[in-house]
């Protein structure tokens, strides 16, 4: 099954959005994770936190609403939602590390059977730095990895990460365009499979052992 980049991103973002619950405070990583916000139903009220010092992150500012002193963590001018608040980096990261964020959604280079995550560095290749990712993964109540199933044909879901870790044993859920995996102490549980793919398609496209329980296997809503 060949899916376009856009289709892949939409499938992943739509599925991650279903994890979001009423009243959640959520921090989204840059890239694909930010697209999750587009698929949260209007009747589910959430607040997005931005590590540069804001809860209530709104949409990109227009020429009329632009305020030079209000940006997201990517430096883009944004609007603030009703009920939002500003604070400094100390409080932003206390919020993150202290377990006050219900869920974070981040991209990954690799993730493994123990819930280890690598997403900040490829040795010998330019690293942008970890920014707030290490704090987010350690501190958020639920860590959701949202990523394409493979990179350039190579598996990203592995027995053990080979790249430097962002954090050890912190990932709770992995969502790709092919499947949803739950990380438990006994390993990676295949929770859902995208009906466009077979269970074998999923098993054969990872470098890890997946625990498949036929009776508990669900179709991924796409």
């Amino acid at each position: 099954m060949d899916l376009s980049k856009e289709q892949i991103r939409e499938i992943i973002a739509r599925r991650v959005a279903q994890e979001v619950k009423e009243g959640d405070v959520i921090t989204l990583g840059i890239g694909l994770p930010t697209e999750v916000a587009n698929y949260i139903p209007a009747d589910v009220h959430v607040m997005f936190q931005s590590e540069n010092g804001m809860v209530g992150l709104g949409k990109k500012a227009t020429h009329e609403t632009r305020d030079k002193s209000i940006t997201n963590a990517g430096g883009v001018h944004v609007e603030v939602k009703k009920g939002g608040a500003f604070f400094d980096s100390e409080m932003a990261f206390s919020m993150i590390r202290g377990g006050h964020i219900n869920a974070t959604v981040l991209g990954a280079l690799q993730v493994d059977e123990e819930g280890n995550l690598s997403n900040w560095m490829v040795p010998g290749v330019f690293t942008p730095g970890m920014g707030g990712a290490m704090d987010l993964v350690v501190g958020a109540q639920k860590v959701i990895v949202a990523m394409e199933h493979k990179a350039k044909g190579e598996p990203k879901i592995l027995k053990r990460c080979t790249l430097p870790l962002t954090a050890a044993k912190e990932v709770d859920l992995i969502v790709t365009e092919r499947c949803v995996l739950r990380v438990e102490p006994r390993g990676l549980i295949l929770q859902e499979v995208n009906p466009m793919f077979s269970v074998d398609d999923v098993i054969n496209s990872v470098g890890a052992n997946l625990i498949v329980e036929e009776n508990n296997l669900l179709a991924m809503a796409v």
Binding site: S50, G53, K68, I70, S89, E90, G129, D135, T166, A167
Partner: protein
């Protein structure tokens, strides 16, 4: 009363080899005028402590482009390709620090603490060479305080008492940096005539030495 100085005078307070904290998250809430003076003065061998190295065209990013920094202690360098280039060429030492750890290390430096214990970085490259402690069954890294010779911070508004008000997401690292440097210089968009309403003060003037007028 605090001393009002020009950007030129402020620049002279930052000699070669200084350790320098600069507030700002990318281009938001960052001082610019004193940085231009440093470029004019061709200051070198700086240790830069900041959230990030910004972009090549503006503020902190220009210090990197002009090769004035020997060491950068930051959380992110992805928006300034020149930082990565100098790092790879061995011209610039970069200490990458998780942002939550960086802000706490700076806070510790300014608030009389011997360091902080954080779970961030456990089991990663960040743990290398650091003392660890287990407290109530959880492992933590001991992260040491950071202080600087000078902090250059931004203000939306400031008054003659050195009080600073910060609007929107401009607070970022400015608040903790104001506590952690020997000399603290505020560059504000507006100097109010009388004084700020005490309820509106984000950074109390007690931390501030100079206001750039």
């Amino acid at each position: 009363m605090k001393k009002f100085i020009s950007a030129k005078e402020a620049g002279k307070l930052i000699p070669n080899g200084s350790s320098l904290m600069i507030g700002g998250f990318l281009n938001c809430g960052t001082p610019v005028k004193v940085i231009d003076e440093l470029i004019e003065n061709k200051v070198n061998n700086l240790t830069l402590i900041a959230n990030d190295t910004s972009v090549p065209e503006t503020d902190r990013g220009k210090l990197i482009v002009n090769k004035m920094v020997k060491k950068a202690i930051v959380g992110h360098i992805g928006t300034n390709p020149e930082t990565g280039r100098q790092m790879d060429a061995g011209e610039l030492e970069v200490e990458l620090v998780p942002l939550g750890t960086l802000v706490e290390r700076i806070r510790a430096g300014g608030s009389g603490l011997g360091g902080v214990l954080t779970p961030t970085g456990v089991g990663t490259l960040v743990e290398e060479g650091k003392q660890t402690m287990e407290i109530d069954g959880r492992k933590y890294l001991l992260e040491k305080p950071i202080k600087a010779d000078v902090a250059l911070i931004y203000g939306t508004k400031a008054d003659k008492f050195g009080n600073v008000f910060l609007h929107g997401t401009t607070r970022n690292f400015n608040t903790v940096m104001a506590m952690s440097a020997k000399t603290v210089i505020v560059e504000a968009d507006e100097i109010v005539d009388d004084c700020l309403d005490p309820d509106m003060v984000t950074i109390p003037g007690v931390f501030v030495d100079y206001i750039v007028a």
